[in-house]
């Protein structure tokens, strides 16, 4: 216990109403209340936020970068998901 470091937390901040929370960095805190307060003091000193999320880093799961080819490249060829794939006759403006 004596030398145990406080857990690492990832901090996400909503910069203003209407925007989603965005990852801004990490910090150390013994509990969630402390993590929120530390995040407030560390990451919003210049009014950068209106809402804070914190999550203990070891509770986050990430995709494996080695799988990036198989995870993300298959969607590159599905161009029909984008509106620019379709031809719109001249004279149609709002579609």
């Amino acid at each position: 216990m004596a030398n145990k470091e406080w857990p690492l937390w990832e901090v996400f901040i909503r910069s203003k109403q209407g925007l989603s929370h965005k990852h801004v960095g990490s910090l150390r805190a013994a509990d969630a209340d402390m993590a929120i307060e530390n995040a407030r003091d560390v990451y919003t000193r210049r009014s950068e936020g209106v809402s804070i999320w914190v999550a203990e880093s070891n509770n986050l799961f990430a995709s494996n970068p080695n799988d990036a080819d198989s995870l993300y490249e298959p969607s590159d060829s599905k161009v029909y998901r984008h509106p620019t794939f379709y031809e719109v006759p001249d004279g149609i403006e709002h579609m």
């Binding site: 470091e5 960095g25 509990d31 000193r45 990430a62 494996n64």
Partner: protein, 315 residues
């Protein structure tokens, strides 16, 4: 992994770097790249944290409420920047506590400028103007560093630091325009901080053992000498503007190159301070170590309480 595989991975890695694709924490990277980054970023973090002390020395003696608030906010930013940077080292698998212990045991280095004492209020001006000025020269290119978390931390740091140099220059300007004793105080601070500020950029390129590889990895974008020259060129006219004299009799403008030429740096002094023999090395490390030791019971109590609360919730 076989050597062949590693060489392919290294080649791919270098291609990404050459194409300005950022490296992110879970991407494959050569061990040396990881170690170089951990060393550089943690040194940078230590510099921010140790750098709180020389200015912290004047917080309780700041001459008015405005200056006191500004100085506090600046030193606080340095703590914040240390924290952003420790966060960046943690994405590389370095443990913050271990990193800090390396500082306290003398294994890890920090910028030698913070081993000089702050003996007058004018030093707050000189540090903001020169030391932060030099730091900004170093840091702006790091915003484009190849390692994503470091680059992002630096964007934040640079944004926040924009007021640091200004407040320092404002202090110097006020003193330079003030009474004779104030002007003398400002000149004295410039005399003491000028050469150590030039040393902040590190040894000459020919002597710098890490520069070449770091440039290839785009951890570094300019050489030490290039950055030092940029700093001198930017700072000399500022000193002239407020009527202070750069303490270098060899300083002169070279019309042909469009740069200032400056005198020889006392590298013997630089290496002595790096080795631990500067005026304040021992004080600075002792102070940081003491802060950590005195906080041990607090950190332990918070852990114990969190643990109790978890257990109460579970039962």
């Amino acid at each position: 992994m076989t050597e062949l595989n590693i060489s392919i991975l290294e080649q791919k890695f270098q291609e990404k770097i050459d194409n300005d694709i950022k490296i992110e924490p879970r991407d494959w990277m050569p061990d040396n790249y990881r170690q170089t980054l951990i060393r550089q970023i943690s040194q940078h973090a230590h510099s921010e944290v140790v750098g709180m002390l020389p200015e912290g020395n004047w917080i309780t003696r700041a001459p008015n409420l405005r200056r006191k608030a500004v100085l506090l906010a600046k030193v606080q930013d340095e703590a914040g920047h240390g924290l952003y940077l420790y966060s960046a080292t943690e994405t590389l698998g370095a443990d913050r506590e271990q990193t800090i212990d390396d500082l306290h045991s003398g294994v890890a280095k920090y910028s030698s400028i913070f081993n000089y004492p702050t003996v007058s209020w004018a030093d707050m001006g000189a540090i903001g103007w020169l030391v932060d000025g030099a730091a900004i020269m170093n840091q702006v290119p790091l915003c484009r560093c190849s390692y994503g978390p470091y680059a992002r931390a630096m964007v934040r740091v640079c944004k926040e630091e924009s007021f640091h140099q200004r407040q320092g220059f404002e202090i110097m300007t006020t003193l330079a325009k003030g009474s004779p004793e104030q002007k003398e105080m400002a000149q004295d601070a410039l005399n003491r901080f000028w050469w150590p500020s030039l040393m902040m950029f590190g040894p000459n390129d020919a002597e710098s053992k890490h520069t070449e590889q770091s440039m290839k990895w785009k951890i570094k974008r300019h050489t030490n000498d290039e950055l030092r020259q940029m700093f001198v060129d930017a700072t000399v006219p500022q000193a002239e503007l407020i009527g202070l004299t750069i303490p270098d009799k060899d300083l002169k403008w070279n019309e042909e190159t469009g740069h200032y030429e400056f005198g020889a740096i006392d590298w013997a002094e630089f290496w002595e301070v790096v080795k631990g023999n500067g005026p304040c090395n021992k004080d600075r490390i002792d102070t940081r170590r003491r802060a950590k030791e005195k906080g041990a019971w607090v950190r332990e109590a918070a852990n114990a309480y969190a643990e109790k609360r978890r257990k109460r919730k579970a039962s």
